[in-house]
């Protein structure tokens, strides 16, 4: 083969190599961005970046790790943009701390829980059940956009508070309030729809 043919067949082999990761990258992106077309976009950009410089990877796993790293950065870029361009807070996000707390705690009874959290027994077993994850996803979908971004960056991407604040342009306290709401609502939703003792 002459040089040109070698380059073409290299390029095609490279594309195959990258395409093998497309599904995984898409699932990853969709979980984080919660929007199909945005997920497709960042995956496409990631694969393009991959085409441009992917030499020297000894194996599939290494290539996937590298691609995922690029993808994570692109996801954070989207979050940063969305956060800074965000329209006014949703009703749920703008709720005062007192009003939010009143959903769960009774101010007339020394701020005890309205309904005390029940025991979930051995919740790990649920992780193997498809139906659990369907309910988990349904509960997650209820998170308002900014809360979902903060929650995703913290819990899925493992970013520290100060990194999240820097990227999204919020204060540490904002961050903690949003994480609190995300966790309280998610926990309640799961208790009601999955773990709740039907009584």
């Amino acid at each position: 083969m002459d040089a040109r043919e070698t380059n073409v067949s290299d390029a095609l082999a490279g594309q195959d190599q990258l395409a093998a990761h497309r599904d995984y990258l898409y699932r990853f992106a969709l979980l984080h961005l919660r929007d199909d077309s945005r997920a497709q976009d960042v995956v496409q950009e990631t694969l393009l970046a991959g085409m441009e410089s992917r030499s020297g990877f000894s194996g599939r796993a290494q290539l996937r790790t590298w691609l995922t790293g690029i993808l994570k950065h692109k996801i954070i870029d989207v979050f940063r943009r969305q956060s800074r361009e965000a329209p006014l807070q949703t009703e749920a996000e703008a709720e005062s701390e007192e009003d939010f707390a009143d959903l769960y705690f009774n101010p007339k009874d020394r701020d005890h829980w309205h309904t005390f959290p029940t025991t979930w027994g051995n919740p790990e077993k649920s992780l193997e059940q498809k139906r659990f994850w369907e309910i988990f996803d349904a509960c997650s979908k209820e998170m308002p956009p900014q809360i979902a971004r903060v929650f995703t960056m913290r819990e899925l991407m493992g970013l520290e508070t100060d990194e999240i604040c820097k990227e999204l342009g919020i204060t540490a306290n904002n961050c903690w309030v949003m994480l609190y709401r995300a966790r309280m609502n998610l926990r309640q939703c799961l208790e009601t729809r999955w773990f709740g003792n039907s009584s």
């Binding site: 769960y104 705690f105 005890h112 005390f116 994480l179 609190y180 926990r187």
Partner: protein, 64 residues
């Protein structure tokens, strides 16, 4: 040592996931959790949620 109520405990438990808490905060938490089953369940459930999310099926890496 001033006691915490359930609402304050829920906020503090959530924050322990995101920042270091002081010794005093830790002591006040422990005092409440000793006598409040509801909040103890809440703490366990927060821990479970943190572990669970990382095992979301969408993150499974073992495609064949």
């Amino acid at each position: 040592m001033q006691k915490l109520n359930c609402k304050e405990v829920s906020v503090l438990l959530s924050q322990t996931e995101d920042r270091r808490i002081s010794l005093l905060e830790r002591l006040r938490l422990r005092a409440h959790l000793k006598v409040c089953v509801g909040c103890m369940n809440f703490q366990r459930q927060l821990n479970f949620l943190r572990r669970a999310i990382r095992q979301h099926p969408a993150l499974k890496d073992d495609d064949e």
